[in-house]
Homo-oligomer: 316 residues x 3
């Protein structure tokens, strides 16, 4: 267990870099801690002093206002001091290396880095080089991982389904380019979901995905049949004019979630999406806003999950 760079020799969480390799107990510890923060975020005074005086740096090498905001809000509700660094426009352009930037910020007595980077592995690289008192949270690295998104999805599933036993979960869309999908599959498998399906066109399902123990479907109707949870992935605009995809219209026809297709799933199936949504491309508005959609609760739970991760890492 001590070979996992995310865990201390005693098996406690030191960094959150990827779901891959984390034991179920750690995932459940995060989900349980998050549950206790739900009530905090519903109060008028949405603040606990757990991380008072800690310095958290949001290191965004790739812009993402939405994700940065969730971490900023979570940190502030834990009473931490937060500094936002948009590094794309900063010293990286002055020729400084990533590791020098991080060493510098570490020397300011940082307690935690929340890292978003376009390159897979960036958060791991940083975690390998920071001092023993600094914690790293991966807020999305390239196509690799987005562990807090997977965790908030697990929180959402457990909240609506009561647990993970006996569930059928389908992940639909551009799995090839999705760090969300990778993290999601690892989390579902670790938490004991017996049947994970992946649905999408051949060009967007990587061949190695079958090795992760999931069932691959290219036909959406077949893939959705009797599932309890539908996780829609965002189709990134830049894919739509490439060779990997038919037109947006064609994509919607085959893999867009409509009320008609959703009717094939279990009647109590929930619909999830990590946002931001492309309405009319990967999801029909009537489904996004419909009774089975839990897309906005996902966001709410996401704050509590990020508070949980931060307080487990940097709390004492």
């Amino acid at each position: 267990m001590s070979t996992n760079p995310q865990l201390t020799p005693e098996g406690r969480l030191r960094h959150l870099l990827t779901i891959d390799g984390l034991p179920a107990e750690i995932l459940l510890q995060i989900l349980d801690t998050a549950r206790s923060f739900i009530s905090v975020t519903e109060r008028e005074v949405k603040k606990v002093p757990l991380l008072r005086g800690r310095s958290i740096f949001n290191l965004f090498f790739e812009p993402s206002t939405r994700t940065r905001t969730t971490f900023e809000i979570a940190a502030k509700r834990l009473s931490a001091d937060v500094v936002n660094l948009n590094i794309a426009t900063s010293s990286q352009t002055k020729g400084e290396t990533l590791l020098d930037t991080v060493a510098n910020l570490s020397a300011m007595n940082a307690d935690m880095f929340v890292v978003r980077h376009a390159q897979s592995g960036a958060a791991h690289l940083i975690a390998r080089h920071v001092g023993p008192h600094i914690h790293v949270v991966n807020a999305g690295d390239g196509r690799h991982a987005h562990p807090t998104q997977a965790l908030l999805d697990m929180f959402t599933i457990r909240h609506y389904k009561g647990g993970f036993d006996g569930l059928r979960v389908a992940i639909v869309g551009d799995v090839l380019h999705s760090r969300v999908a990778r993290s999601e599959i690892h989390a579902l498998t670790t938490l004991g979901v017996p049947e994970v399906r992946v649905i999408g066109p051949r060009t967007l399902i990587p061949v190695e995905v079958a090795r992760l123990g999931v069932h691959v479907f290219h036909d959406m109707s077949a893939g959705l049949r009797d599932v309890d949870v539908v996780v829609m992935l965002r189709l990134q605009n830049e894919r739509m004019d490439g060779a990997l995809l038919p037109s947006a219209r064609e994509y919607f026809k085959c893999y867009g979630l409509t009320a008609e297709k959703l009717a094939l799933a279990s009647p109590n199936a929930i619909v999830m999406h990590p946002g931001p949504m492309n309405r009319g491309i990967e999801i029909e508005s009537s489904v996004a806003d419909g009774a089975q959609s839990v897309i906005l609760p996902q966001v709410t739970f996401g704050i509590a999950v990020r508070m949980a991760v931060m307080s487990i890492l940097a709390g004492n």
Copy 2:
């Protein structure tokens, strides 16, 4: 009264979107509350715990460092947690709709949105779609309204003139494109100012302005005669090369406020400007910095007025 989207069924302020339709009692409640905050902003510890643990989002779809700063400072002095979102460079460009962005931020248990948008009506649209515990403040929408600017101007007038009875107020400049002018006229009228004048070239005074009960002047000397308050409007640079205006030099000659023209007003007249000023275009430096100018006190009062609005909306 319950048809006004800014008021609760009981007639209390729920959002601040526009001055239009707000009763005088609400305006006076804001001004009176602001007066109590003046002393806070003059202390060394410029902070009260009224909004501790509340989450306020500055949603700026149009950049405005100055206005954003006034709301940020006001919120911090009320001990709220503030998150700045510059949405122009954010998920809007990823194809997400305005309402999806707002729904998302709402799901993070936001308490208040301060909204600046280039399109008239944006703050109203948002207010119509947020949940019952979320408050919206319009920080300027297109040509439509800028209610906190109008309120701080009312505060300034009351501070220097002791009240609104018997006053003559002139608003000078580009009324056509000014959200400040619209909000100002509604506020002055509601608070009982008997004579509101509007001064400017025919091309920059909308025809419907007369319907608001104001007197229109195209000759500045006639319009300024015996007024107690002169409100200069900012002339936006982009107007100056258009067909609506003569040259900047010509404009200054006709509608720029000089010491000579100001001498036509009441000897105790005060001079106001919402900033940022174009010195030498709409106002002469000797007037901007002169004894009758209250332009900097407007800024100081503006913080107290924004604290008042926020604490009335989100306080309990």
Copy 3:
């Protein structure tokens, strides 16, 4: 003494604009105060309430994420409210003058401005125009001064060398364009360092530097002999393709700090660099990361020094 714009008539620090003209007692007061903050920055709760409720504005007319971050962190650890203003993209472009921008922010009851500007003298100009209760810290103005960098370097030297008596200090590189070098020379001289050397090519050493009482060397080996402290300067990329410099490769050969050259210095010599480093241009990686490098401690001390400056200026 009262003619120094940085000091009150009683000789206390009112602004920190430049090291030039500050008496040794003031410099030592800052270093001593900084020492007391080192322990604060090492605690879990890295926060003291000294500036609670004070409003500090980071006015960056020139982007510098790194320097802005150090001041932001320092201010937050003193419990101040910090507002970041990136003015390049703001009202300056709306035609407002620098002094109007500052007057406006002052009217928001600011307590302190931390100013970074591409033009030499900008911080002085601002300091001359702010009200009596507002303090200005120069965070770098053109080629002129960067006093907090010099102070943190003095702190570092005193920390590792026990004092300033009997030291030989060499400053190496592009002295001509360096605000750091200018501030550094004034600080070293004021604190009684007996021998300050400046090393660099003729094109990058201004002729007037000899007047400051330093020894000029164009040969690095000669200049480094027996020094106790080596201060490397950053070579700005934009210089490298100009007429002032040979190629980067040639520069490194002559003025880059290698282990071999460093061996000429005193065996206990420390190596400093203000960052961000150009590895392989002004400094070899093995030296930057070597046993004699104190580059990262400089950063740590820099936070404590900025806390000291801010608390001396705005504390009571």
